[in-house]
């Protein structure tokens, strides 16, 4: 078999050859990979990473109305922000808002998904209705609810009056405005959350239920022991997305309350928007944007860490 072993030095020459060929191939495959990724990388660079660093940079400066830096103020923007009562209010509202919306959205969507997962005639119609709010834009949804919350002709107050209660200033009463915005948001997010959870439910293997049936398990036992654990990756995803969405709320505020009354609905993104594009305080607005970035970063990381441990993956 090995009758003609090449001479030692001939072998060496060949190997040197291979090495350079291999290197060339490596360079080629690297270039090719980069070509495929380049469009995405460039756009991420220009519209995501560069602006992020620019935001950090801006947060240490005062700016003129065009957004050009004028005076370096170090941490002054941050100090002012953290001592400002308006910002405190904004943070408080934001966290309250997350607290109001996230669990409620998920619980309602989960109930709807469990209902809509039954194999019944015409179930497709109900699924379509439940997922419909996903197709309704912020602007349209806010307009719908603007009517619902209308002080005199609004549906909610008419119902209240009908049963003999007094009207509520849904959008003008500081005690109610944040809740009103939260209700709108829950309604808007219901469609997406429902659709994803339904998908999660349907991807659970039916033999799990069948074997539970054979063991004679009841409806709620199955729900608790099979459905929820098997659904946990989906739930985990949905929770993360809903939290992040809640922190990014903007459109509802802009149409329903413009941050009022008494800044109770001045959620962080709206606050950034107002600071930057109404007051032209790009420095302080950037400091707030950095806070938003850090909150979302921390949320994502916590979710990942917790998720890794708790979530049951197949």
């Amino acid at each position: 078999m090995s009758m003609t072993k090449p001479m030692p030095d001939a072998l060496e020459i060949q190997e040197i050859n291979f090495e350079s060929v291999k290197r060339k191939q490596r360079v080629k495959s690297f270039t090719k990979g980069m070509l495929f990724l380049l469009p995405s990388i460039v756009l991420f660079g220009v519209f995501l990473f560069y602006p992020l660093f620019k935001t950090m940079y801006l947060s240490f400066f005062l700016t003129n109305a065009r957004g050009e830096t004028t005076v370096f103020v170090g941490l002054q923007n941050y100090i002012e922000m953290f001592t400002s009562p308006i910002f405190h209010q904004s943070m408080k509202s934001t966290f309250l808002f997350v607290l109001y919306t996230v669990p409620t959205t998920i619980i309602i969507a989960l109930l709807l998904a469990v209902l809509a997962n039954e194999k019944l005639k015409g179930i497709g119609f109900f699924r379509t209705i439940f997922s419909s709010t996903m197709g309704i834009s912020v602007a349209a949804a806010s307009v719908f609810w603007l009517y619902m919350f209308h002080p005199s002709i609004g549906f909610l107050n008419r119902i209240l009056n009908l049963i003999g209660l007094e009207s509520i200033g849904w959008l003008t009463d500081p005690n109610w405005a944040l809740i009103a915005v939260a209700v709108t948001t829950i309604w808007m997010n219901l469609g997406f959350t429902f659709l994803v959870l339904l998908g999660g439910l349907q991807s659970i293997d039916s033999y799990l239920y069948e074997s539970a049936d054979i063991d004679g398990a009841g409806y709620f036992y199955k729900l608790r022991r099979i459905t929820i654990p098997m659904l946990s990756p989906t739930l985990f995803f949905v929770i993360t997305v809903t939290i992040i969405n809640a922190f990014q709320t903007f459109g509802q505020i802009d149409i329903l309350t413009q941050g009022g009354p008494q800044n109770t609905t001045n959620l962080i993104v709206y606050s950034i928007y107002r600071e930057a594009f109404s007051n032209y305080q790009f420095g302080t607005a950037s400091a707030q944007a950095i806070v938003l970035f850090i909150i979302i970063l921390v949320m994502t990381i916590i979710q990942f860490k917790l998720g890794e441990r708790k979530v049951h993956y197949q």
Binding site: M1, S2, Q14, F18, V21
Partner: protein, 370 residues
């Protein structure tokens, strides 16, 4: 000089342990060469290195005299058939068959001609407009073969192409592939983990285990003269019966249970004073009707195959199986006479597992056949 030459080929995925080690091999032009071995032994890896789909970590690979280590697959002039057929699901049978010719920008007229010929040969003419998902497993297999045939590459590589088919279809396709290869004069490198497939199809077989060549040779040679215990148990069904043995006086003591007289056989010095393992094929232990060399054994299992009967019995701690021609109405627990002769035994070294001496009986047979 062979058509494909592997010189000291080795492969490692992680730079630490080798999946393949020092493979030296020559495959001749027009040969049907089978790579066989258990799962994970490195068969696919070796085949894919020949194809150029896997980088070669060490050694030299030549195809028709040229070093091709660095060449991409398309410059090696070969075709390949995959286990899952790798048919393009969105293309029709016709487009699938022509896929390669199209990619190589071969003249449209020639494409047509080759397509017709190949479809005719493979019996696919009626199916050309169908999509792969509308075909049966056997038909898909045929399309995959057609794709290799139509390329007219002189070398064809196949990686377990029949393992997704049922037993009957597999038997048919074995013959079909074999015929096709001979007819087109292809050089074939064929990977399988099924030793029956290897025995029935290969001109030569290479047995691979743990990335090391165990033996290369013609099917009969592997069967009669297994180079070591691994090949002995891997090739043949039921597998070769093994037992530890020592020479004592003029007797062979197997597993401290069976005593077989040596009779007139001369004992070569190579067998004396060492630990041995003897191997004995099932068909070499017939029913003991003659008066000599008979052992009495107790049956622990019987399998009726119709034309033959498999009888299992214990030898010390080993379970041996004998194959008797015809139908035997024996039952578990019966004590039967069985013919066990030193003449039919292969002798292996107990420490290294290597063959020391093949069965004397098979030597005689070989002479007869030549």
């Amino acid at each position: 000089m062979g058509y494909i030459e592997l010189m000291g080929i080795s492969k490692s995925y992680n730079k630490q342990s080798n999946v393949l080690n020092g493979i030296d091999l020559t495959i001749e032009k027009g040969e049907f060469f089978v790579l066989v071995g258990p799962s994970g032994s490195g068969k696919s890896t070796l085949l894919r290195m020949i194809a150029g789909l896997e980088e070669i970590s060490g050694g030299t690979l030549k195809i028709s005299g040229e070093i091709v280590n660095h060449l991409p697959p398309k410059n090696r002039n070969l075709s390949m058939v995959f286990q899952n057929y790798a048919l393009y699901p969105h293309l029709s049978v016709e487009q699938n068959i022509l896929f390669g010719l199209h990619a190589k920008k071969i003249d449209k007229e020639i494409q047509r001609k080759r397509l017709e010929e190949t479809a005719e040969m493979m019996g696919l003419s009626e199916l050309l407009k169908r999509k792969p998902r509308e075909l049966s497993g056997g038909q898909r297999q045929r399309v995959a073969l057609a794709r290799a045939v139509v390329s007219e590459a002189p070398l064809c590589l196949m990686d377990e192409p029949l393992s997704n088919l049922d037993a009957k279809l597999r038997a048919n396709m074995r013959i079909e592939i074999r015929r096709l290869q001979k007819r087109l004069g292809l050089t074939m490198v064929y990977v399988t983990h099924d030793q029956v497939e290897a025995m029935t199809m290969g001109d030569r077989i290479m047995v691979l285990n743990d990335g090391i060549i165990q033996q290369v040779g013609e099917p009969i040679e592997l069967y009669n003269k297994p180079a070591n215990l691994f090949v002995a148990t891997f090739i043949g069904s039921p597998k070769m019966n093994l037992g530890k043995a020592v020479l004592k006086d003029s007797k062979l003591l197997i597993e401290n249970a069976l005593e077989v007289p040596l009779e007139q056989m001369e004992v070569p010095t190579s067998l004396q004073n060492r630990d041995l393992v003897i191997g004995l094929r099932a068909e070499h232990m017939p029913h003991g009707s003659e008066q000599h060399q008979i052992q009495k054994v107790e049956i622990v299992n019987v399998e009726h195959l119709g034309n033959e009967t498999l009888i299992s019995f214990e030898v010390g701690t080993e379970l041996w199986t004998a194959k008797w021609l015809g139908q035997w109405l024996v039952q578990v627990g019966d004590i039967v006479p069985i013919h066990i002769s030193v003449e039919n035994m292969c002798f292996f070294d107990a420490d290294t597992g290597c063959l020391i001496q093949e069965a004397a009986f098979s030597q005689k047979q070989e002479v007869v056949s030549k």
